[in-house]
Symmetry: C2
Subunit: 225 residues, 2 copies
């Protein structure tokens, strides 16, 4: 009779994770403003849980407080993009290396499942899932690293890049050559299977680099080395 205890202890938490996933799916457009009452109405909760969630997301730089006190989805700049990606390289390849040894058969199976769904999203030009499942794939790997400090930093970077990724991916999908966006996921799985740390690190970096390359190209921004 629905005796299951709710998934989240507080409404604030529920709202937070709801918004968080929405952001990681690219449902928030850069530059758009987010209002307390808007979110509250959409999720059918009062202002309080929304206030706290937005404060939290703002602290994680997923959202931005404008000086007119309004909340908005941050826009991307050339320098910010480069900064986000150089940090992603560093932190994520480190996390992958730490995680590798702890990835067992069950974890491997889950990774393959995620990758299957990810490929399907690409085939179906389902941009939202394409973006989200890519993050899920990486998150699943890093979750075995046992890193409790670095992981939140990585996720903060994802929250910052997701709206921009969505914008670019939409354009990319329109231009038709979306499914040519070869990711390195299969090779990553292979490197893990062979426990080849050096190769894994490079592949993670390449996988991330592929993304930023496309984004820089689309924006006509200088390609980072």
């Amino acid at each position: 009779m629905s005796n299951e205890r709710p998934r989240f202890k507080t409404q604030q938490e529920a709202v937070y994770f709801e918004l968080r996933e929405a952001i990681l799916r690219g449902k928030f457009q850069p530059g758009n403003s987010v209002t307390l009452r808007g979110v509250a109405e959409m999720l059918d909760v009062s202002l309080m849980p929304v206030r706290e969630s937005l404060r939290r997301l703002t602290a994680e730089r997923a959202l931005q407080l404008l000086d007119n006190r309004r909340i908005a989805v941050p826009t991307m700049s050339e320098s910010r993009l480069e900064e986000i990606y150089i940090t992603r390289f560093t932190l994520e390849s480190f996390a992958a290396e730490k995680a590798m040894a702890n990835i067992d058969e069950a974890a491997m199976a889950k990774l393959e499942d995620i990758n299957t769904l990810h490929n399907r999203a690409i085939a179906e030009r389902d941009v939202e899932n394409y973006i989200y499942l890519n993050f899920e794939f990486h998150r699943q790997i890093y979750s075995y690293s046992g890193l409790e400090v670095i992981l939140p930093l990585i996720e903060s970077l994802w929250l910052q890049i997701a709206p921009f990724m969505r914008m670019i991916s939409d354009r990319f999908a329109q231009e038709g050559d979306f499914d040519e966006s070869e990711d390195k996921h299969l090779e990553i799985l292979e490197a893990i299977r062979k426990q080849n740390a050096t190769r894994l690190k490079h592949l993670i970096q390449d996988d991330i680099l592929d993304g930023v390359r496309i984004q820089q190209e689309m924006m006509g921004w200088g390609v980072s080395n």
Copy 2:
């Protein structure tokens, strides 16, 4: 006539920065719990600004939400310490390198001022200022990097390490050999003057490493390589 406009636009902001500095001064002891009404009384504000500030600090991992819904200052573990410091090495040496070229005479003078105060704090065994001014020294350097993504990450790490630093420094000061804690600040200033990026990066790393070494030693934790 007190026509000056207040330093912060909102009470929440004022409370946040007040708490933030207190944390960076090591006024919060690891494991201690922080209550809404306690802070509200101490700063003579209502619950609302405090709620939002604590939510913010929690998102930055300066504070921790326990599963009994209570808020506490996180405790340190051997692995967490190592994680924080390896990330500090990476991000801070990068930031220092980016900043170096932009540091002019005025900035240099300010750095020397901070360092003077820092040395005085050491001489006077003023642990709070010793910790805080060390952060200020580093922050001042990195502020010229123009990095808008990485700087918040670095500051989040500082907020996480500060309470633990204070604990160790107190012990260290008691044991008497506090002023033997030779920092690398003078050499750092020299490297900046000579615009020697490689040396600066190494010095930043050494400076950070000196700190963690003492901490690990005090705790009887394995020294990282």
